[in-house]
Amino acid sequence: MKKISGNKLLVKALREEGVDILFGYPGACTIDISDEIYKQNYTKVILPRHEQALVHAADAYARSTGKVGVCLVTSGPGATNLVTGLATANYDSVPLVCFTGQVARHLIGNDAFQEVDIVGITRSITKYGITVKKREDLGRIIKEAFYIARTGRPGPVLVDLPKDVMAELGSGEYPGTVNIRGYKPSTTAHIGQLKRAIKMLGKAKRPLFLAGGGVNIARANESFRKMVEITKVPVVTTIMGRGAIPTDHPLFIGNLGMHGAYASNMAVGECDLLFSIGTRFNDRITGKLHAFAPNAQIVHIDIDTASISRNIKVDVPIVADAKEAIDKLLEYVEVCDTAKWLDEISVWKRMHPLKMKLKNGVMQAQDILETINEVFKDDEKIVVTDVGQHQMFTSQYLEVNEKTRMLTSGGLGTMGYGFPGAVGAQIGNPDSTVIAISGDGGMQMNIQEFATAVLEELPLILCVFNNTYLGMVRQWQKLFYGKRYSMTDLRSGAATRRGEEKPPTYTPDFVKLAESYGAKGIRVTKPEEMAPAFEQAKKNRALKVPTLIEFMLDPEDQVYPMVQPGGTLEEMILD
């Protein structure tokens, strides 16, 4: 075979891996790769305006398509700008392969221009990372990177490419198979353990399913719904697991945890069997660890052994892919006698339904989300949230079902994820309606992506819940810090420091800002303007431009119920 450069081999590898979209930002150390990509016509390049936005876009592209998201950035600052996005993807088990440029081998360690040890920096936030030291290893390493990213518990893999390795001529062969002796992920459930779990399910008086993000990642939703319907066992989900079963399903209770529904948190407290799938029992869902599900035996299915019995002691651990395990369970499960238990739950639901305290004639987050549910009822849609109060409202009030998916940064809680995430989701799903829900804080963390969205002709709908505050932290300050709103008023600055009574009316005019990039902007201040704004945004989709809708909300709106940090799930602040 003819010898080719490493750059050419990388381009060939992308094609063989079926990478039709690459999120890239150039630099001196990757300019030769860019040049090779220019010469081919298979992989399309998207150029976000910041590497952090780039990796979030690739992340949401991967979450929404099930493919591996691929990034290419340069060495040094290009690589370090990936860090937040890698950590985000790592927490939420998103398959990414990130190629970083690196200075030539003879310069590594010399503090060369734009040199950093990116593999070292990202060691604890990637599934795997490696610098390619020899040209002959390049093909194998790329092949392994894709394999590691998408198998087992998926995650981000970083491949660091020294410029001279990439220029060197070598074999043009791209391997077809992978054999990594230390990495043999097993996905099949132990049948004996599954049978033990089923036996417990049969005996339980108050069984409860807890579905986490693993159900969505394994695309096990359909099987899970079947299992729920056969057994008649009610379901609670984590935020990452929302949509594991349609949220309007009669056996779905709600989310659990810090901002979970009252009935969900009570059900966890009272259940005698918690059958959990694909969750790592993060502290945001457990509350006080020792008081979590105090009366329950716990079954836990997870693909990651290290997630089992880390936070919560488990009675029956099952290491497996969620879909494979549930499909196997479907062969054995039977109906459980849950009628009495469901009655108890429905009492809790009636006592404290998930509902914001209504203020007459005032627009609230709940109204906006219910309007989205209504206006886009028949649309195939992806809703991408940012992080903050709006994220919790979305996870409470957005209906998630076969037509609707919700993407959110659950593990790391990354502000700035929403907008670039929507860009990535729309690129991966050109026919779906993509709606970003962000706050005025999160939106300003990656606002430059208007350029990408407009130039890529993405008909996104961007909702900004503007309450002029960093609302989630403000809520904590209001409830637990004597209303000392330190660092959370986005209007404060020199005038506030000077002690002037009235701070400036505000910060950017989001509508004008959208328009300055060539997008559409609508401001909504009253409830009756909500539906027409969404209808307009829906129409604008035909123009292939993004539409931003800015909702002016009251900073006094809080997310309830709320479990105080460190409190038990059953001690909820209700309003």
Binding site: T131, T305, A306, S309
Partner: protein, 169 residues
């Protein structure tokens, strides 16, 4: 579950690659796991290194340590040495300084008792090599500290391998 803190040992087969050692030790620091000692060297297969890790932990944490090590791509095999018969030794050098003639004579007797080798010798100092368990080496340090004015210690960390004939302890 045993919640008492005690010493536990892991033998680890890993890919002999740059960065693997720092990844393993990085795991211990990132997750706040105790790391008493870590030794590493290549095996009969030059592409594989073997580590002996000593940690002080309760059983719950120890289970997590093993799981976290197991999920690393570069880790080929994790063997728990805590409950099986192993041969474990540590190389230790002790230099005793400011010795009188009597001190040196005493040190030769100590070397004989502890099966140590005298590796070097000067007019007022002496260098001893010990190969024992880490526990015994620690005891020797304590003793020499109490008997001599100045000592300088360097220890290599424990290396271990499964025993062939020893019964289960």
């Amino acid at each position: 579950m045993d919640n008492t803190m005690r010493k536990r040992w892991i033998s680890l087969y890993v890919e002999n690659q740059v960065g693997v050692l720092s990844k393993i030790s990085g795991l211990f620091s990132a997750k706040c796991y105790n790391l008493e000692s870590l030794t590493v060297g290549t095996t009969e297969d030059p592409t594989i290194s073997r580590m002996t890790i000593e940690t002080l932990s309760d059983e719950e944490t120890y289970e997590q340590i093993k799981k976290q090590l197991n999920r690393m791509v570069e880790v080929i095999k994790v063997i728990d040495f805590t409950e099986i018969s192993v041969v474990m030794q540590e190389l230790m050098f002790i230099k005793v300084k400011n010795c009188s003639k009597e001190d040196k004579a005493e040190l030769f007797r100590i070397a004989q008792t502890y099966q140590a080798k005298v590796r070097d010798y000067g007019h007022d100092s002496l260098l001893l090599e010990f190969v024992h368990t880490a526990h015994k080496n620690s005891a020797i340090i304590q003793y020499l500290k109490s008997e001599f004015k100045t000592i300088e210690v360097v220890r290599g960390g424990t290396v271990g391998i499964e025993a062939i004939t020893m019964p289960k302890r």
